[in-house]
Amino acid sequence: MKKYNNIKATLALAKASFRSIMRSPSAVVFTLAFPLIFILVFGFLGGGGTHIDVGVTPGSDVNNPVMGMLEKTGMIRLIKDKSKADFDKLLEKGNVDAMIDVHRKVNSAAYSVNVVYTSASRDKGGILKSVLNNVFYDKTLKPTVAEIKESTITGREYKTIDFILPGQLGFSLLSTGVFGTAFVFLSLRQTLVIKRFFATPVRRSSIVIGEGIARIGFALIGALFIILIGHFFFGFTLVHGAATVVNMLILATMGIIVFMGFGFIISGIAKNESMVPPISNIVTLPQFLLSGTFFSIEAFPSWLQPISRALPLTYLNDAMRKVAFEGMGLWDVKFQIMILLLWGIGIYAVAVKVFKWE
């Protein structure tokens, strides 16, 4: 008897599945259209931040009328108690909009104010500048402030798209992994497609791997598409260019594999197709809202943050942003990768238990 070729069977399935996905409108909408719409909306809206984070240089005088005045504006948040090195990093990334250093002038009662802006946050720096000008000409302060020295350091400009795009990418991977996988396996089982497959010599593992290859391939094409549109039309930052894209796609692969695990579980516990969306939403919605897709999780109330920090998408998003904007390598995000891996092990352990073939 001719030797049976498992690889050929797996690839035949991958090809069939890929063709089928490309022809399924819902897959295309979830993976491409939704994220692109969000990117478009946020890309044009731009950042609407109202807070200006100003770092207080270590060693600066803090009990002086200038700082008091700045705090009173309600718009400026003074950040203290960080090391110089920390501040430098934050400043370069634009996470801190400017640094301020106030000293009493030698042999004088007046203060000297030293401000450092960053090109990573030009808009906010501009606002701070005008606030300081007001302070300088304020009658009550005038006698005490002798001078304002200003300088600007160059940092990378951190745009809204740099935050939004990785989040949308992560969510696209989550929804295509969860919904797509759950629907496909449930419907193949219910429409007896899998039963017919079982009448051929194909292995079960080939069916799972073939489907997986198709879904990963589709998700990566989607991811690449989103990254390129983001980069060329909205100026999404890719620090090391193509190498960064490759790293992002590797992260995307890890993410989609983990998320497909949820899909396998759902296909096993859902009794029919109409049960797939509600169950899938239980998995995807909390991650959509809490994993830093739209807002940094630091903006959440502190009681919510532990929940955010338990979700796999949080770590995928985090790793994506670090790789894309901060130019980190995969080794630098090993902690995030490890958490994803732990989720993967946990999810597939459950999936193996609840997955149904017939």
């Binding site: 070729n5 069977a9 035949a12 063709r19 089928s20 497609v193 017919r196 009448a199």
Partner: protein, 254 residues
């Protein structure tokens, strides 16, 4: 009578669904290169028996050998030499017929030209159509096409002519006879006795999971006649089916 070689032997097959015994100690052999019919009322256990032989369901007890392979230990080898048409099955969504045949070719590890397979069941004009868009009879024909992809030694057809028009049925008989003449063994179930009589070399009657008769159609008829059976009414020289065929011609319908 020449002695024939058994390609399938079923020995004392029992299948229980929980407390319900669907198959109660079936034993029979299918000879190489014959068309073997499994007949019997709804729920008799025909599909159950076929699917156990096809290694798709587990049996409760009994022994089954298919071309020298045991269903218990060599299911993988059995699947490579059989072609299966299920009474109820679906096909991968969103693919056209050619793509589906390509998929099955991959699953069987066979090198075939999809169009040639489709031509055998006269579906070449529907090559680019989706399975969903086929008529009932076309679906049946497509299912049969998928059984031929791996050039199997045995094909199993579970009610292949249900839902077919009279010519399509006849044309399918021709196809099945051709397949048999090319050296393939055919196991078929049907509720049409004229079909079984025309097509099958031997038939087994199954009722409530047991075989109540097994012989060639001619022998079974002769036996009945010799027991004094007579039809109540003299048959007419033609019936409505003859009218249908006469009016609509002999060709496959799209």
């Amino acid at each position: 009578m020449e002695t024939k070689k058994a390609i399938i032997s079923v020995n004392n097959l029992v299948k229980k669904y929980d407390d319900f015994v669907a198959v109660q100690g079936l034993s029979f052999e299918v000879y190489e290169n014959e068309i073997f019919g499994l007949l019997g009322p709804n729920g008799a256990g025909k599909t159950t028996t076929l699917e156990i032989i096809e290694t798709l369901r587990d049996k409760t007890s009994g022994e089954i050998i298919v071309d020298g392979f045991s269903v218990d230990k060599q299911a993988h080898s059995i699947k490579q030499i059989i072609g299966v048409q299920l009474q109820a099955a679906g096909y991968y969504p969103n693919l056209n017929l050619v793509e589906l045949i390509e998929l099955f070719a991959g699953l069987y590890g066979a090198n075939i030209k999809p169009m040639e397979i489709l031509e055998k069941v006269n579906l070449q004009d529907k090559a680019k159509a989706k399975y969903k868009a086929l008529s009932g009879g076309q679906k049946q024909r497509f299912s049969i096409a998928t059984t031929l992809i791996n050039q199997p030694k045995i094909i199993f057809l579970d009610e292949p002519t249900t839902g077919l028009d009279p010519q399509a049925r006849r044309n399918l008989w021709d196809l099945i006879t051709e397949i048999r003449d090319a050296g393939t063994t055919v196991v078929i179930t049907t509720h049409y006795m004229d079909e079984a009589e025309q097509l099958c070399d031997r038939v087994a009657f199954v009722e409530r999971g047991q075989i109540i008769a097994l012989d060639t159609p001619d022998n079974l008829i002769d036996k009945l006649v010799s027991s004094g059976f007579e039809r109540k009414k003299e048959v007419k020289k033609a019936n409505l089916e003859d009218v249908f065929i006469n009016l609509t011609g002999q060709e496959w319908r799209e």
